[in-house]
């Protein structure tokens, strides 16, 4: 009930995201001072990648693990170039999603990102995407867009798109 009240207060407001996430972020920052993912941030973004990139990630477990590791390194580069205000918001979002109550409130996901199966995480993403709460929609777009941008920036991802890369000049 208390959590529900908090979220209702937060409708349409990025400030609410900061308010919900702020206290938790003090304990478990999801990004370090250089904008790189901490262990908790990595766990969230690794889970999101398994859901968003389902279909393009390698099937072989070993190959998939190394692809995800490379993806997280590219995410670090992406996040490191963002201005501090953006990094602060993303750190709060990921910090919140790394905790059990935050994950349930924002994503509607019970198991942790490490333990959840792809279908459960995809359902959570779909619920955020179609939510009437802007704060959940904003979170969905941030997670999905970051994931796609970091994955498809890599030439290794281009064959799946049929993209032959830039013309050599």
């Amino acid at each position: 009930m208390r959590r529900r009240t908090l979220l209702q207060l937060g409708i349409g407001s990025a400030v609410a995201l900061a308010a919900i996430g702020g206290g938790i972020a003090l304990l478990l920052p999801a990004l370090d001072g250089d904008g790189r993912l901490t262990a908790s941030g990595r766990a969230v973004m690794r889970g999101v990648a398994r859901a968003v990139l389902d279909g393009v990630l390698p099937v072989d477990p070993g190959a998939r693990d190394s692809a995800l590791a490379a993806h997280l390194r590219r995410l670090d580069d992406t996040l490191g170039a963002f201005p501090s205000a953006t990094r602060g918001e993303l750190s709060q979002l990921l910090s919140l999603l790394a905790t059990a109550p935050g994950r349930l409130a924002l994503a509607g996901l019970r198991p942790s990102w490490d333990m959840a199966d792809v279908a459960a995480m995809q359902q959570a993403l779909q619920d955020m995407r179609s939510s009437t709460l802007s704060v959940r929609q904003q979170a969905y777009h941030a997670l999905r867009d970051l994931t796609n941008a970091a994955w498809f920036a890599d030439p290794g991802a281009w064959p799946a798109l049929g993209y032959d890369g830039p013309v050599t000049v």
Partner: protein, 537 residues
């Protein structure tokens, strides 16, 4: 490694005065005749003209100096280094993603080369509603002609790529007129990588034209340096405080300078220019500053064809349609301009909706995908007041742009128009870029579905690459921040020379509007400050 000569590296080797970042520490204080904030469309034109008048010019650019040797046609290189906020700048509610340059040359280094003179109906509106009596096709024509000569703006004679030609073919079947887009290029290779910095120096951006001309004439360029605050007293600017910044925009410890000039020109682009004036607490007696910021909010429609489209190949945006601007009054329901944008992996996959297997199937059709975009002409109706720039606690700018029902009704009509054109061109499926849309297989199906889509922010994908307004010009101080000559209404030695001048959106890709109008303002400023007649071309 590009085998093209790099005019920037050659200029640096010849001893151009460039400091900041890897080019050397900032001195504690700099004195000059004119300090120019920014190095994009308005700043570049101003820098060349004032330098030609033998004024001592200092250009302050927040981004890095990158040039053809650095341009590898890779989104992963380009977005973090050449764009504001890594090409992920967003409005306050995160519903609009904004593309703006942040490098020497500003947005002109990364834009898609589309060049239109300011449309006549827009100028008429500015005369009638903002007291800008001297803004007409006739009075501006010589200023546009000069800019066009200086920047190689001409008809593009190569055949359009399939992405653009599908716009023409579909529109023609519906008896909708299309036209050719002029481009600011010389000896263009037709690569299609304009958005990542031109690797062949064909694009006549400020990076390879006016900024080098100013540097050759002795101007000084400070890069990776942010204009933090204008000092002022009794209606007069007394100095400009600047700080060195890292690539992520954070202050670089120890680097700072104070520039003292006779005159100051702010041309950091809409959003950043009003933010500098806000940080400086300049007088704003009529509360105009940062208000009426416009975006040409863009909605997108993606269609899959039987044949390959390969929207990443060939010059972007070579054809357009103004049908939906011209068939309705400018101050009625919002009109829109149609164009066909370039498609590259990061921008495509982060703009199209969905995830997982559905996304994989969608993306597998990338080579056969054609995209249209609609630029909504905002700012001409009382229900389209645009957005407002304010400051975050750290002084960085934040644009609040509410996507209200008036604007979103236009977005729905635009999605309908684009789908109809794409089906008329032979599309197998059309996907309006909206979180609740599907790939539709016929025009009647798409028409019914789009009519029922909830046109809400964060469900409808909205982007922008044209930020305008926020320091609007007007014939009286009640309606604007600056005078018709670009000078600030309350500060005597401060001018604004960029897209933030515009009192509404332009209704066309804005670069040539900035070049032409600033050409007039800067030529007049050169005369006022130096007593010299100079001309851009």
């Amino acid at each position: 490694m590009s085998r093209f000569p790099d005019p920037i590296r050659a200029g640096l080797a010849r001893g151009w005065h460039v400091l900041g970042g890897p080019h050397g520490p900032l001195p504690a204080q700099i004195e000059c005749d004119v300090a120019i904030v920014g190095s994009g469309a308005g700043a570049g034109i101003t820098a060349e003209l004032l330098s030609r008048a033998d004024l001592r010019v200092v250009i302050v650019e927040e981004g890095p100096l990158k040039s053809s040797t650095d341009f590898h046609q890779r989104e992963s290189d380009a977005y973090p280094t050449l764009y504001q906020e890594s090409a992920a700048r967003k409005t306050a509610d995160k519903a609009i993603n904004i593309l703006q340059g942040r490098c020497v040359g500003g947005s002109t280094t990364v834009n898609w080369t589309s060049s239109f003179r300011t449309p006549a109906p827009t100028l008429t509106y500015w005369r009638e509603r903002f007291g800008l009596a001297d803004m007409s096709e006739q009075t501006l024509a010589p200023w546009f002609e000069q800019a066009e000569r200086r920047l190689g703006i001409e008809r593009w004679l190569m055949p359009p790529n399939e992405n653009n030609d599908l716009l023409r073919r579909g529109a023609t079947r519906l008896q909708i007129a299309t036209g050719e887009i002029q481009r600011n290029v010389r000896a263009c290779w037709n690569l299609g990588s304009c958005g990542m910095g031109c690797p062949t120096n064909a694009k006549q951006s400020m990076l390879v034209t006016t900024i080098p001309a100013a540097l050759e004439a002795g101007a000084q360029l400070l890069v990776q340096t942010r204009a933090q605050r204008l000092e002022h007293a009794q209606g007069h600017i007394t100095g400009l405080q600047c700080v060195a910044v890292r690539n992520d925009g954070q202050p670089d410890a120890g680097g700072a300078t104070r520039i003292v000039a006779r005159h100051y020109v702010v041309a950091g682009g809409a959003i950043n220019s009003p933010a500098l004036l806000l940080r400086s607490a300049l007088p704003d007696p009529h509360q105009r500053l940062g208000r009426r910021t416009f975006l040409h909010p863009v909605v997108i429609s993606a269609a899959v064809f039987e044949q390959p489209v390969e929207g990443w190949k060939g010059a972007p945006q070579t054809l357009y349609s103004d049908h939906f601007l011209q068939t309705q009054p400018i101050d009625g329901p919002i009109g829109y301009k149609l164009e066909a944008p370039p498609l590259h992996p990061v921008i495509f996959t982060s703009t199209l909706p969905g995830f997982g297997r559905a996304q994989t199937e969608l993306l597998a059709q990338f080579p056969n995908t054609q995209a249209l975009l609609a630029l909504l002409r905002d700012g001409f109706h009382e229900q389209s007041p645009g957005g407002r720039v304010s400051l975050r606690d750290d002084g960085s700018p934040l644009l609040d742009y509410p996507l209200n029902d008036f604007v979103m009704a236009g977005a729905r009509r635009a999605l309908l128009s684009m789908a109809e054109i794409q089906f008329a061109a032979g599309a197998r499926t059309v996907l309006p870029v909206h979180e609740m849309a599907q790939a539709y297989t016929s025009w009647p199906q798409a028409r019914a579905a789009i009519a029922a889509l909830p046109m809400k922010p964060l469900l409808t994908r909205v982007v922008s690459a044209h930020v305008m307004g926020g320091c609007g010009m007007a014939g009286d101080p009640q309606r604007g921040v600056v005078r018709p000559d670009g000078r600030h209404w309350q500060i005597d030695n401060l001018s604004v020379h960029d897209g933030s001048l515009f009192p509404t959106s332009v209704g066309a890709n804005p670069q040539l509007s900035i070049y032409g109008i600033v050409n007039r303002l800067a030529t007049q400023l050169a005369h006022a400050l130096a007593g010299r007649e100079v001309a851009l071309a």
